[in-house]
Point group: C2
Chain length 203, copies 2
């Protein structure tokens, strides 16, 4: 599994060593994530992963155990990649303006060659049934809660903000960015800009 086989290698340094992996696990997961992001989980076959990751099915199963395992690592990598903009939001001291910037940052983050792919986490919540994979679902919920919490702390930076209201507004903002994840796939950029402006008009 990812980054564990290397440790295994170290712990066995006394025995006879064998062939080295001809690929970097993080690199091939990056490519897998891009494919899942574009296509969704079900619509991405192991044959497609083979091509995109540039390695044989044997290697995929040796490194990640299953298609599901590749997907879990893809989600982890997605979180790593989006951390760049959530960290920026965490560091922000501009109240709701910082959150607004996060909305624009997210749209940029989710765009590739002019195509909006939405949020991989949101796409996944939309695709899988809650009861089919409750562990993954719980993980995705926690990710969303983390972002909602960031919204809340940023909202509370604004003066005279009622904490009760701020909590509701955090839910409201979460709903708006969920909408943007979907809307960005269909709407024009100018419409998305309008939406963001109205969204932050009265909070």
């Amino acid at each position: 599994m990812l980054f564990q086989s290397n440790c295994l290698v170290l712990s066995r340094s006394l025995e006879a060593m064998a062939r080295k992996k001809q690929y970097n696990e993080q690199e091939v997961i990056d490519k897998a994530m891009a494919l899942f992001w574009r296509n969704g989980y079900e619509a991405t076959s192991v044959r497609m992963l083979e091509k995109e990751m540039g390695i044989n099915q044997f290697s995929i199963y040796a490194s990640f155990g299953s298609k599901h395992g590749v997907f879990l690592e893809s989600i982890n990598t997605y979180k790593k990649r989006i951390k760049r903009i959530t960290d920026k939001l965490q560091a922000s001291q501009n109240g709701k303006e910082g959150i607004k910037q996060y909305f624009y940052d997210f749209l940029k983050f989710a765009r590739e060659n002019g195509v909006n792919k939405g949020c991989l986490v949101t796409n996944t919540v939309n695709e899988i049934k809650k009861e089919s994979d409750p562990v993954l679902m719980e993980e995705l919920s926690k990710f969303a809660d983390g972002i909602k919490q960031l919204f809340l702390t940023n909202l509370l930076q604004d003066q005279n903000k009622n904490p009760q209201l701020a909590k509701k507004q955090a839910n409201y903002l979460m709903n708006c960015i969920l909408g943007l994840s979907v809307a960005s796939k269909v709407f024009e950029q100018s419409e998305l800009d309008d939406i963001i402006e109205i969204t932050f008009m009265n909070i």
Copy 2:
């Protein structure tokens, strides 16, 4: 195909007649729609449709041509079913309050046995790739535009409303209800209520 074979029957009344269909096409499509709504397009197999619709695969293909054909008819039926609440919005004279009511009506419409299934059209936009079925995608876009237009005309009922602003607000409201379609699958009802209240607070 749906409601065409009956016409065929009429036009051939002089020749020998044969066995009658043992199912009602609208009834079995209602069941197919429910399944697609719960599971999505790809995750619904023809074998599952067989069971849910209560008819053999032969009958499915005789009546609707393909799995894709069943889905197209399911979308049509979805539009018929949701018409009950869009018609209510069309008849409303309460400005933004009528739209707010539509939000609540939609959440009720999308709930089945306590489970929120979202909007079938939104789910589909989220699942299929734009280029894989541009005809269907165009149809779904038109449906969404129709609702956006209803938002706009209702907004313009409010006094002293700037038409330019109203257009942006219609996009904003469309984004919020797209969000609700996703959020309703994960959020508690009280949170959804909070979201709707805040959504209409600043327009």
